[in-house]
Symmetry: D2
Subunit: 267 residues, 4 copies
């Protein structure tokens, strides 16, 4: 089938990687070209992710996998340490990288962009593939121009290690870039329990709630005279990112150069 996009998945045994494999196997416009997982062993990729066998055996090594897979796109949801090398390897093989990992330096991004340009292929690095989360961030930034008084509340599972979440910090940065500078609250305000007012960022506050049963939710609340405006995104499961990944895989076939941020390929 020459018309489908041939997709290689690295980190295929990880939590996100498994969802990507499933998504590729179910999308009629894609074919699984290769699945790489150093620790999974030579198992059928379909069997590994709990669907029916698909005829692709999981490979231990990206280099080998790419050499005869004729992949169009590589999807990588591994870890920051590995992603830079994987991306470079992919580009060298003429395979378009779609990377869901953070931690690239500006220099690395520039270099990878140059490599993509030379090879005349597209590429995408995106810390967030959730269309809903991206809209939430965009709307929050827009609203902060009119409502400079705001707070962010984010909710995640109780085993999460870091607070506040990466998405909430990204949101705060976007807001800080357009909001009129303002230190909110009463200057004489006092905490009788330390930390009650949340984390301070550029004049406003971020609150991190951690509870079992919650996957990933965030609300940005704006307060003005006699009114509040709320923008809230609730993410219920990892699979919720897959529609965004599918869009990226298809889109990356249509342009040249490396794009950073999923928002730039949403129409």
């Amino acid at each position: 089938m020459t018309d489908t996009i041939r997709v290689a998945v690295i980190g295929a045994g990880g939590r996100m990687g498994r969802e990507v494999v499933k998504m590729v196997l179910q999308d009629e416009n894609m074919t699984l070209a290769a699945a790489v997982s150093p620790s999974a062993g030579p198992i059928d990729a379909g069997t590994m992710v709990g669907v029916k066998p698909c005829g692709v055996t999981v490979a231990a090594d990206l280099e080998t996998a790419l050499s005869d897979a004729r992949a169009d796109v590589l999807v990588d949801f591994t870890v920051p340490q590995a992603a830079y090398g994987n991306t470079k390897t992919a580009i060298m093989h003429g395979v378009r990288p779609v990377i869901g990992t953070t931690g690239f330096t500006p220099e690395q991004i520039e270099e990878l962009d140059k490599l993509c340009q030379e090879r005349e292929i597209g590429g995408l690095i995106a810390p967030n593939f959730s269309i809903g989360a991206i809209l939430m961030m965009q709307f929050a930034a827009q609203a902060s121009k009119y409502f400079p008084h705001l707070e962010i509340i984010e909710y995640h599972g109780d085993q999460k290690l870091d607070a506040p979440s990466g998405t909430s910090i990204k949101t705060a940065e976007l807001i800080a870039g357009v909001r009129q500078e303002l230190r909110q609250g009463n200057p004489k305000e006092e905490e009788t329990i330390e930390g009650a007012r949340g984390g301070y960022y550029n004049g406003f506050r971020i609150h991190s709630v951690r509870l079992p049963g919650v996957f990933a939710q965030q609300e940005v609340i704006f307060g003005g005279f006699g009114q509040t405006l709320k923008i809230r995104h609730d993410s219920y499961e990892r699979a919720g990112y897959m529609p965004g990944v599918a869009v990226a895989v298809k889109k990356v076939m249509t342009y040249t150069g490396l794009i950073y941020g999923f928002e730039h390929i949403m129409d």
Copy 2:
């Protein structure tokens, strides 16, 4: 003080009109030029709205009030039947209308625009002066391009006569203008209690909640694979519209012609 904007208020004894009078008296860039209320009697306008006397006696008739008030702007939150006439009278006196009433026909708007152009003054008709409500509507329309599955829930006081609210219908119209057409829900869906699924509009549903203690709230909920996005505006009191009215009074001094919709004068 020649630099302040001289504002006349018609319907000054009504619920919104009283708030406008208070706002004008408190804004250092405005002066109350006249207050009109057919039924209030010759009382001081400040006294009438519960603040200190301001030296302006409430007039019974707009024509008379405008003839010697040297007003720059007329603010009108009366009723649809009266607003067209009031607007015309204001323009004839060279007074810029800021109208918070709905019910104008396209022909009336066109005529009033022409009159403003001739007089070289600005004018504004806006069904909604709430910046938060306008952002909610704009964000909802934007989101519906990516999330065509949505429902609107609006909340008002339990004595409200009409359902759904004007704001929810306006929101629905804006969404219908950009959303990919789609009849939501299960085609075989059945109501065991009639009306449970809400009011049908262009493939989606509007729900009207009526409860004491609520002033005006609206939420637009978008559902997608593994996620929901919510945009919510809560309005707690009539006074919440005043910042928008103040913006309008100042802005209307700066352009020529009649503008329909507050969103067009937000930067």
Copy 3:
């Protein structure tokens, strides 16, 4: 291991049944005694639900399965038509029924209770095993004594066939049993879009929202002078019922007779 509770599961191949099988296999105080599914074929029950083989082959018939399984408890999340017969069969074998199906008549419940009493075993029929949903219903009923103005909004996936949901009707019944009778809203209220005000029940309204990405959520909103009170339960996945089922399986070992409603075995 003589101390674990031996659990048989009927409807083991269904969506809820699979979760029950997984839960039993993971709970160290339970042993899977039998799994019944007419259509699954003679497959290992663990394999069928996507975990490792457990040595119990799925049986096609309850009677056969119970005859040599030495089960203590039967868990049934099948359909109303089958549940009565299954329950009776279980009791006849001295196996305590834990039934998550609705549709029993009062006469059937009385008869099954008598049979449990004769056999000196416990039994439970519960339309809802979600502790959170039950608390929501109890709190809503309590609050309605003080706040007789209320509306119910329930949210489910967009493929659900019936509206309003069973849980919302159950909630409405509980409220109607204790709330001072009151027809809410303005008597002259008019719908410009039919159904906007929701489904009418005993003077209040029920609204059913249907969106993809939503599993099961419900909010009961109470409005009073200057305030609102909200009680909301969000259920994110089928597995959320399992802690309640586990409680029931353990509890049913400790009493005699048939109990209707999970709330009666919560302490």
Copy 4:
């Protein structure tokens, strides 16, 4: 009119006091017996609160006011420093105290109860007269027995000085009294912005949001396997406490002794 309850109000010129005066004047079962405000001057109490004159001149001193007012009940929403003395004075005159101030010591409460008993009159001290807030606290405490994982988020106006709010601390205390002890969250959790995780109380967290436009709101969120339960109270204005005060004024006529906490006189 011998059947109405004669109510004296101290602090009648304060924000809560004014609402109480208005409420008394509007309730057909109450008569305003006296209004006390040291700083208001000899103005008619009705005029002072913006309604029509009522024939009661504001007094500067409680002692004088009570000596010829034949009051049945004294309502006091002043400050902790004054409330103890006022309460004692009231009881000495045989006037039932209804006190909305906190800060009494256990010894003071005991003493005042003894005085009420001797005089054979009732009395009430209540930090919160909001029925909705009290229900929220009671439900939260009940839910915490089943869902020990919880967080509290409270919202107030941005000029509030203390965080967290008195109501949230009261809620936390009630929960701590019945919840199974548990330190929530990941033990290795780290804050990259200090305070993001909120204020620590007995193993759970309290978050204080401060925004203009908000009066007083609180949400208690419980998280469990696959579900969350939320209990939320939104208070929109000071007047929202008045139904509770009215209940208290009527109830205090029916018993003997001093009761602490409005929840004990709700049926």
